[in-house]
Each structure stands twice: as C-alpha cells, then as structure tokens.
C-alpha cells in the first residue's frame, strides 16, 4: 500500500531519458552570476565590491533579514561586477558576478563540523551561515524552516517524491549520495530535537527502495515510505497528508500540522556543510526534453548560465520552441540563456514543439475534471470564470488563495482553458487589492 492524497493527475513521467544516468560534474564556467534573490524572502546584501578577490565558498552577500539567506562564491576568482543581471524569473536582479580563476581555492575559514559536539542552536546557526535553502524549488531558507518547527513539529519528512515529469536530479542524489542524505537527516533530526524521520519516495523509483533500504541506520530512526506515483505528490501539503493524514490549516505553515518537510538534496547539502564545511554552492540539474542532444544529470555550480548548462548536455539537437527552468508542470519559461542556475533549479528542459497545445476557442464544458484533479479540493472552473468576470469577491469565496498553482486543472482541461493561469492572476489581484 502506497501513501497518497485525493485528486491529482498522472502525466507521462518522461524520466527514462535520464533516470539511469549517473550525475556528472560539469566543468565550472568562466563566470558565475549570483543574484541576491535566489531564495524566498528578503534579498541578500552584497558584502563584496568590484575588484575583490574571493575564495570558493566565501560569503559574497549576507542575509538581508530574518527570512533570507547568505550567498557564497561558487568559484574562486575576482568579482568583476555587482550589478543587475537577467534572472530566471524574467526580470533583472542585482547580482554578484565572479570571474573564475579555475583554482577552486576554498575559503580557509571553512572546516568540517562535528554535529555530536554541537548544540541544537549551533547546528541551526551553521545551516544559516551556509546559506542553505530548499532545493526542491521553493528555496525557503532551511534554518527558518527548522525554527518554525521547534516545539511544534513531531515529524520530519524528507521529500524524495520528485513528482514532476522529466526531472531525475533528486532520484540520482538518493542513489549516488545516499550517505549524505542520511547524514543530513541525522543533522536535521538533532536540529529539530526529533527522533524519527520519514523518507518519502514515489513508487516509480524502484531502484531507490532496494538501494536505500540497505543503508538505513539500524536504529529505525529513518522510515522509508512508498508514495503512489502521482502529480503533485511532492507538493508539501499533499505529502504531509499522504504520510500523516494531517492537513496544513489554510494559510498556516506545515509546522502547524506538526511537520517539517525538507527536500532530499537540501539534506545532502546540509550533510556536505558538516562533512566538508562547504556552503550551498552547487546543485544537481537534470537537462532533458525533446530539443536536448544528450539528456543527462549534471552537478552544476550555482550561478552557471543556463546556456552553458545546455551546451554541457550536447546543446540543442533541434530548434527549441520553449526552454524551461524546472519541470513542465510548474517550471518557468526562459528567454535569456545568460540567466543563471540558482539554488532551486532542479531541471533545465528544452522542447521542440508546443507540448501545451491550446485551442482557438477555449471553453468550459463543465466536465468537472478540474474539480476531480485539484489536490486542494477547490473548484478551479468557478474561480477561473469568476476571475475572468472580475468578480474577485467570488474568487476569494471559492478559496482562490488556497490554490497551490500546481497546474493539474489546466493539464486535464479538455476545453483547454488556462485555468491555473487565470487563478494565479485572480490571486494576484486579490492580494494587490488587500495591500491598498
């Protein structure tokens, strides 16, 4: 019996192109671009200026508030610019640009940490120092998440669902960096003051179960949980419900349902901080899609331009029609390939054709499929249609603000309505109106 939630969709997972391919380290680029916003929360404040020499892992921008994160040099070399640069979100964001000296000289102040000799508080501070944010995509600062769970959470959940099609980066991390994932879980358990963790993986990753089972600690502190393969199984709220039967109250945090959820690669990153002292400077990126010559999983320095990552996967084999950062369900379409990989980038996908063919005359036929698919149990067609009419009050009454924007409604709609796109806009308009 696999754990799951009600609703959701079953898109073709498309993972076969890369799920057997071992992670390959990509050669660091000549230049890295480190935006001061690559996490949820306040932008970081640059602490270096043009001309400064920096070590690998050295702080270049410090957390700009409580919910914020430090940013470190992901290569050693010279700061050549601190200026707005293209960001994957489509805008220009203040960024620290570092010219690589190809020495990878590590910051001498970094050293391995002994978690057994550290207090809960010291561990959390070390994670904050390291600038570690959620690698699942939402990039929530890890230390803030740990603190949100203190005294509230009784369950630590490790998210290895990876429910978006195409993406296999977490899959490979669980297979190839199992020890780091397990060490990271131990660190998190101590930081949270908890005894047990649940490592949750979707059933389509059969090799992970057989491999990880053998390596789990004998004390039973980590339980390997089998999730049904379904999108959005890896969404935090759906994952919490699947594993514990609890629901995160509307508008509250997972900790309010007694849970904290960390992505498995975040775990591995935390482990590396303790094992080697290195900060959050690299991530695993799946490069795939119909326009990519040689799909693969790459270990990439944060700040590497998207274009170079695509080149490292053999470049385009055909003219791309769409390039995405992230998965096909929630990823962001890119138009400037100088924008950098950031801490939450789990995939770069490029497609030749339009895989989201719409209709010239989209119309709701009231089939109810969006209502069935919605993992938040909302009525997407109602919110969409009210939003189109500008009736924001009705949108709010139908809980537009609870939408997690997973896109399941748009995916299933046979009338080809841009449902989640409309709901997203309605949410934005509701929030704008509130701010006034």
């Amino acid at each position: 019996m696999a754990y799951t939630f009600r609703g959701g969709i079953h898109p073709d997972d498309q993972k076969a192109a890369t799920n057997k391919k071992a992670i390959e380290p990509m050669a660091p680029p000549k230049q890295v671009v480190l935006p001061v916003s690559m996490h949820i929360g306040a932008p970081a404040k640059p602490v270096v200026k043009k001309g400064d020499q920096v070590f690998l892992g050295q702080l270049v921008a410090e957390a700009g508030g409580n919910v914020s994160a430090n940013i470190h040099a992901t290569v050693s070399g010279t700061v050549v610019d601190v200026a707005p640069r293209p960001h994957p979100n489509g805008s220009k964001v203040l960024s620290v640009v570092i010219e690589n000296d190809f020495q990878d000289t590590p910051d001498p102040s970094l050293h391995p940490l002994d978690m057994d000799a550290m207090t809960q508080e010291e561990i959390i501070n070390a994670i904050r120092e390291a600038g570690i944010v959620g690698h699942g995509g939402a990039t929530f600062p890890a230390d803030v998440k740990i603190r949100s769970g203190l005294g509230k959470a009784d369950t630590l959940i490790l998210n290895g669902a990876e429910c978006e099609p195409y993406i296999t980066s977490d899959h490979r991390v669980m297979l190839e960096q199992t020890d780091d994932v397990i060490l990271g879980i131990k660190v998190l358990l101590k930081a949270l003051g908890l005894q047990k963790a649940k490592l949750a993986v979707e059933e389509n990753k059969a090799d992970v179960f057989s491999h990880v089972e053998k390596l789990l600690p004998a004390d039973g502190s980590i339980e390997l949980c089998r999730l049904k393969t379904k999108y959005p199984q890896g969404a935090e709220k759906q994952l919490i419900f699947a594993l514990t039967g609890r629901e995160v109250p509307s508008g509250k945090l997972p900790a309010d349902a007694g849970c904290v959820v960390f992505n498995v690669d975040t775990c591995a990153t935390i482990a590396r901080k303790f094992r080697t002292g290195m900060n959050d400077i690299r991530r695993i990126v799946t490069v795939s899609g119909s326009a990519i010559t040689a799909p693969r999983n790459l270990e990439v320095r944060v700040g590497t331009p998207i274009g170079e990552v695509i080149e490292a996967a053999g470049g385009f084999k055909e003219e791309p029609n769409k390039i995405l950062m992230g998965g096909p369900m929630m990823g962001v379409a890119q138009f400037d390939l100088t924008a950098p990989i950031f801490k939450g980038t789990n995939a770069i996908l490029a497609f030749c054709g339009d895989e989201a063919k719409g209709s010239k005359t989209p119309s709701c036929i009231r089939c109810g499929r969006c209502v069935e698919a919605c993992p938040m149990r909302l009525m997407p067609t109602y919110i969409y249609l009210y939003g189109e009419k500008g009736n924001l009050e009705a949108c709010e009454k139908y809980d537009a603000l609870d939408c997690i924007e997973c896109g399941a409604c748009t995916y299933v709609c046979p009338g080809k309505l841009p449902l989640v796109q409309g709901i997203r806009s309605a949410k934005q308009r509701i929030l704008n109106a509130r701010r006034k």
Partner: protein, 335 residues
C-alpha cells in the same frame, strides 16, 4: 547557438493532456451507435435518415447562428452533432422531418446558443427540444409498431401501437417479454428502446472516462429500489426490470443526466442529481398523468444544478472551521 528570438514564453503548466472537447463528443457519438443499430433493425432505414437529418440540422443551426452573430464557428467540436442524435433518439421514428428541424433549431439556438453556447446552457438541449415539440402531441405520442415499413423522408401515416410504458402505467406488466424489452424489440421512441445497447454505450463511456458511474448508478438505482419496493401487485423483480428497460430511462440516465453542461461538476453532486432524477421519474410514472417522466425529471433537476453544486462543494484541504458557529450562507462548510 539556436535562434532564441522565437522562444515561446508562457506561464506553467507547459504540458497538457491530449483529451479535448471534440474527442469527448466523438466518444459519446460512438457510444450512441449500438442503439442506432438496434433502431435501424427494429424500425428500418428511416431510423437512420431521421438521425442524420436531426444531426445535420443541429450542425447547420449552430453554424448559422455563429455566422450571423459573428462568433467563432465551433461546430467542429461535434457537440451539436451529439444534440442532434440525442433529439432524434427521443422522438417517434415516424416524426415528420420538418418537426425534427424545428426541434433542432430550438435546441441549438434557444437552449444552447442564446445562453452562451457549449457549457453555458443550463438545460439539456435535446430534452428541452423534446419538451417543446410536445406542442405536437399527436405526432409525439404516435408510436409505430415495430417492423412497420416507413418511408425514408416523407411523413408516414401510421397508427399508434401500445408501448410497454403504457401498460406499466396501468400497473400491468407489458406484453413483451423481458428479453424483448432489454433488447429493444418493442415500440417506443426511436433510440430509447434497447436498454442493452444503451448500457453497452454507457460502459464504453465509463471505460473511456468520459463519464463516471455516479449519475447513472444513482439514477437507475433509485428507480430500481422504488419499483422493487412498490411493485403494484406484480412480481417485484420482474416489475423492477420492466420499469428499468422501458421508456427513456436508460437513454436518460446514461446520456442525458450525464450531460456535462447541465449536471453537477462535483461527484457528490452527481449522486444527488441522479437520486433526484430517479425520484422524480418514479413519481411521474406512478402518479403523473403522462406515461413517461424521464425527460421532465431531468429538466427539473437541470434547474437545481447550481444549488446542488453549492451544497456539495468539496471541503477544501486545510479547511478551518470559523471560530464562532455563525451561520454562513454557503461554501467552505464541512459536509
């Protein structure tokens, strides 16, 4: 490097399921074919011409309206075709073609397009047209006997024969055997006679995930239960089966009550809707002064869909009850 100036930039999701409205309508048409085969077998080739005229009429009126109103022409989605076939199915096979076309115009223009087209109409177009055509009561209740030779297009002069429902109305079992009733070797409206052919179509629709079992099972189950409980002095099971296989019940429960536009979008709502249709059908059959109640039951329930959806709205994930037990008019309430 590739030419990046032509990159598509749109918001997520970037993939979609291949199902579309046209595919769904084509599936419904496929599901309606077994019943058409039986109709042709029982009533001869006029069953085919009547269906074809009605389908062509609906397509034409949709095209005409959209052209005149300068709206995008959407006849390609095949929904008008479905309406045309369904309307033909609930008429006597001897109906004159001019009357069929009047029905088509009413269904497409008045019931569907004036309310905004596909998905916006709140009453089933085919059933509304049938109700409208009751303005011709003699034609609408003249059921030719099976195997009567009928002209392809001309209006035939036929004498009505008894339908199974008329007998049931008297509280008597029909003359036809249950096998004939199930197969459709009986008089009645053109496409409603064969319960088995319609059931086969229903199973096809369920297997293709066009509909779910909720509405038909709730509808047929309610009728079956009430007929079993109140058999009017007949054998319970025989009476129940005869009622289930007679009149427009199967056609209504499988193809009309499941019409997307005019039934609830929530699964719970579909069950409520089905039960409502079942209750009304039995009430009309038992107590009404007309033999059949399926079409009016569904039309009445059509009018309640918005209310049903309000009360069967799913309890959202993470719903928190309001602190005080204030009476909220609707929505967000745990059901």
């Amino acid at each position: 490097m590739a030419d990046l100036s032509k990159l598509t930039v749109s918001s997520s999701p970037h993939i979609r399921h291949e199902d579309n409205t046209r595919q769904i309508m084509v599936d419904v048409i496929i599901a309606l074919m077994p019943a058409l085969a039986i109709a042709i077998y029982v009533f001869g080739p006029r069953a085919l011409t009547l269906t074809a005229v009605s389908a062509a009429g609906c397509l034409f009126f949709e095209w005409l309206y959209q052209r005149l109103m300068k709206k995008p022409v959407t006849v390609g989605d095949c929904s008008a075709l479905v309406t045309g076939i369904l309307l033909a199915y609930c008429l006597p096979v001897s109906s004159p073609m001019w009357m069929v076309l009047i029905g088509d115009a009413f269904a497409i223009i008045v019931v569907k397009q004036l309310y905004g087209g596909i998905g916006k109409n709140f009453m089933n177009p085919a059933l509304s047209a049938r109700a409208f055509l009751m303005s011709f009561p003699v034609i609408m209740t003249t059921w030719p006997a099976i195997r009567t030779k009928l002209p392809l297009f001309a209006t035939p002069d036929v004498v009505s024969s008894a339908t199974p429902l008329a007998s049931l109305k008297q509280g008597l079992m029909p003359n036809a055997s249950l096998t004939d009733l199930a197969l459709g070797m009986v008089g009645g409206s053109m496409g409603e006679i064969s319960a088995l052919a319609l059931l086969a179509g229903g199973l096809y629709l369920i297997s293709r995930k066009v509909i779910t079992f909720h509405t038909p099972v709730a509808y047929l189950g309610t009728v079956a239960l009430l007929c079993f409980l109140f058999p009017h002095g007949n054998g319970r099971v025989e009476f129940m089966l005869a009622e289930l296989c007679s009149g427009g019940l199967m056609l209504g429960a499988i193809f009309m009550a499941t019409d997307y536009s005019t039934s609830p979008v929530t699964k719970k709502g579909q069950v409520v809707f089905g039960i409502g249709c079942g209750l009304l059908t039995v009430f009309i059959r038992f107590f009404g002064n007309m033999p059949e109640g399926v079409s009016y039951s569904i039309l009445v329930m059509n009018a309640t869909v918005f209310l049903i959806e309000k009360v069967t709205r799913p309890r959202k994930y993470g719903f928190v009850a309001p602190p005080k037990a204030v009476k909220t008019p609707e929505g967000g309430k745990s059901k």
